[in-house]
Amino acid sequence: MDRSRVLIIESCSHETESLSRGLEGKVGSVILASCAAEGLAVVEREMPDMILLDLSVGFAEASDFLHGLEQEGADFPLPVIVLADSDESANELPGIGRSEVLRKPASRADLTDKIEILLEVLHLRQELAAKNIELQKLAGELSHVLEMKNRFLDLATHDLRTPITTIKLVHDILEKQMLPEQGPGLQRVLDILARNVAKVESKIMELLLIARMDLGDIKLQVGRVELGAIVEDAISNFFPGAISRGIDLDAELKEVRPLVGDARRIGQLACELIACALERLDTGGRVVVEIREEDEGAVIRVKDNGPALQQEMVRQMLAGLENLEPTSQTRASLYAAYQIARSHKGRLQITGDADGGAVFSAWLPFVVEQDNKDGEEKSCRKP
């Protein structure tokens, strides 16, 4: 309050002087003006914290002042106390609803109290605005950190999945090739290895699930995508597991024109579709990954020869893909695939094959519609 400045606009010099002497020291410093023009000049030059407008300057002067004040367009409306002989005399003033009216004669104590309250309100509003700006800045930083966390989680978990399946494959080979000669000592070591690998794999799958759950708000890094290379990379992630389980992981990769999209996300989409198919097989069996052009876009199609897929099962798989209910890894994979396809304005489809088995496919358009000016990043939010 000590640093607050009050502008008093009043025509009667005796009363003004008296008012200002009483207020100065109680509410801060006081600036005097005797008419609307002078008052407005002070507002522009000195930027007072509040205004005391005595109607003794005349209704017209007071109106001119209040009208001029509105034109100033300050960030915060300046608190104004109007001193009037009656409420009726003040009611016709422009913007009077935003001002406080005190009837004369107002005691010094009442006036001081009123001024202090209004100044407090003003200071609190300013503090709130400053905190709001700070909060928005923090929210922006938090959003950036979350985005970085999500990207790391995504990359790390996908990158960790491949070495784990390779370790499992090597374990299987060791067990088959070396165990008959080396005996129980090696068996114990291999058992320890198998248990720990299983624990790590379980944690990785949980992390993958968490990473997928954040896919509701995907920010795409859009660029040119060579789908063939992307899908080859995706398939290679699953070779160790397929070898361990005796599954033929085949590919029929036709030439496809480049897409415009997020290469990493599209690679993830291919991985999720392959994971869905492999999840349906136990040991043995066949999964075929195909890409081809279709309808001004490209299709990634993954077919398995697992159990026949009934319509009801398809309906259950597709139900509620807007929100993730992680009842299984397949459901998590489908959710991730759905969100990525949708963020590229594409489509996800699941059908039962005529020869038995299931087909998981995603269609992606060649060009993704750009939302922002620089065309590099596009955000797709869940509705």
């Binding site: 494959l169 070779f239 070898i243 599954i247 033929d248 992981l249 590919a251 029929e252 990769l253």
Partner: protein, 101 residues
């Protein structure tokens, strides 16, 4: 059976072609080959089972001080070899002549 055997897989080794590939490898190893050269210069894709066959061939030949050598594997084949941990273990050359020497 000569000590060095060259096997030339199909351009695409999926399920249908894998039986033939597997049989060729088996015949070479059972016949006493100690140097197995797989000419991948035409190969654009090898499926999981074919990679598994290569992996087993490597393990068997290693026991008998034998060698597996791949010729000119392209990107997709290299990715598969890397995924199963074979790329760092087997010889890779860019021509059959170099593989034979």
């Amino acid at each position: 059976m000569p000590e060095t055997v060259i096997v030339e897989p199909h351009e695409i080794v999926n399920q249908a072609e894998c039986d033939e590939f597997s049989a060729q490898i088996r015949e070479a190893i059972d016949g006493g080959a100690t140097r197995l050269v797989v000419d991948c210069s035409r190969v654009r894709y090898m499926n999981s089972r074919a990679l598994g066959v290569l992996l087993e061939a490597y393990m068997e030949l290693m026991d008998n001080n034998g060698v597996v050598c791949l010729v000119a594997p392209d990107r997709a084949v290299r990715l598969g070899l890397e995924a199963v941990g074979l790329l760092a273990l087997i010889e890779v050359t860019d021509s059959v002549d170099k593989a034979l020497n």
